[in-house]
């Protein structure tokens, strides 16, 4: 009887693994697209997607199969992105203009301009818009992307972001306002009509 139980559990584990693999194959394109909109960079987006799928796999036993997998995954991606932003903000910043400790040499830093793969991705959405997205408040950016890129209803977004519909409404409103302001600052000629209250 014990061997039956063990065999059933092992079979269940194999089925769950196969199910997860199928879900990855079905969802990775949208997941990557969402991650690019959040991060604005190729390798960073890939790292975010990979980290998110790993988290999803670790907690796959908590996933309710009656609910859309993508919605659950978007929540994981959003949280993973915010976690990485917070970690980045905790990293100490060293002045690049002061000589390195114990030497007279200054610190050389690689060019922070867009890499070639980033430029290729930016072609599909204007560089101004992508840059404006990246400079938004993370929670606002997530809400706006889920509404405008993923086409989700407010109730779905509230579930993904683990908040209320009212908060989603406020985040989207303020997020679009941030986006508009940023776009007008970048290119007043093209986006000038978007911000009549400036």
């Amino acid at each position: 009887m014990i061997t039956t139980i063990i065999k059933d559990r092992a079979d269940g584990g194999v089925k769950r693994k196969e199910l997860f693999e199928t879900l990855v194959r079905d969802s990775y394109r949208q997941a990557y697209n969402f991650a690019v909109r959040l991060c604005g960079a190729g390798q960073e987006a890939e790292d975010l997607v990979q980290e998110s799928y790993l988290r999803a796999y670790r907690f796959f036993h908590r996933y309710d199969e009656t609910l859309p997998f993508l919605n659950w995954l978007y929540r994981i991606i959003s949280n993973a992105h915010i976690d990485s932003m917070r970690k980045r903000n905790r990293i100490r910043v060293t002045s690049l203009d002061q000589p390195a400790l114990g030497t007279n040499a200054t610190i050389d830093v690689a060019d922070q301009g867009p890499t070639i793969d980033r430029q290729m991705q930016n072609d599909s959405m204007s560089e101004h818009v992508q840059h404006a997205l990246v400079t938004m408040t993370p929670e606002f950016r997530t809400a706006v992307l889920l509404a405008d890129v993923e086409g989700m209803a407010y109730e779905e977004i509230a579930e993904v972001m683990n908040t209320s519909v009212g908060t989603v409404r406020s985040r989207i409103h303020r997020g679009r306002k941030q986006l508009r302001k940023s776009l007008v600052e970048k290119d007043p000629t093209y986006y000038g009509g978007m911000c009549d209250d400036m």
Binding site: I2, T3, I6, A10, K17, F20, E21, V24, R25, Y28, R29, Q30, Y32, N33, V36, R37, G42, E46, V49, Q50, Y53, L54, Y57, R58, D117, Q121, S124, M125, S126, V129, V144, L145, A147, D148, V149, G151, A153, Y154, V165, R169, I172, H173, R176, L179, R180, L183, G193, M194, C195, D196, D197
Partner: protein
Amino acid sequence: MTCNQVSALLSAYIDGELSGIEMRFIREHVCYCPECASELQAERHVKSILGGAPMVAAPAGLEDRLIAAVMAEEHRSPFAVVAKFAVAGVLAFVLATAALQFNRRSEGADPTARIDTSRHEAFMDASDPFGGGQMVYTTSYGQ
């Protein structure tokens, strides 16, 4: 409805997330308020820019890299390692128990072998190493 109230609802309006009455109020307000009408147009413009952008193509091989990373995680997971050892341990226990039972039965232990002192006889178990088979001793005790 004031312009500030309308402004706060414009995003939800273009997303179709307002009640019927609220939608009507907004529609009527923007008809006679050019500033709010202009802001509504700007909101729609932002939404269309984001919504109209084509999906970013995933890099070649991403699908396989993701699957490989997840499978590698499965083998690294401490839970998976512990679970595998536990399963192996239980299987080993079950097999050992079964083997022990099989050995005892194959040696032909006579289930009726017993020491019956009331009959002044003792039947030794067939597994007695000095006897090699069933032996009967007549005893004088108990008389």
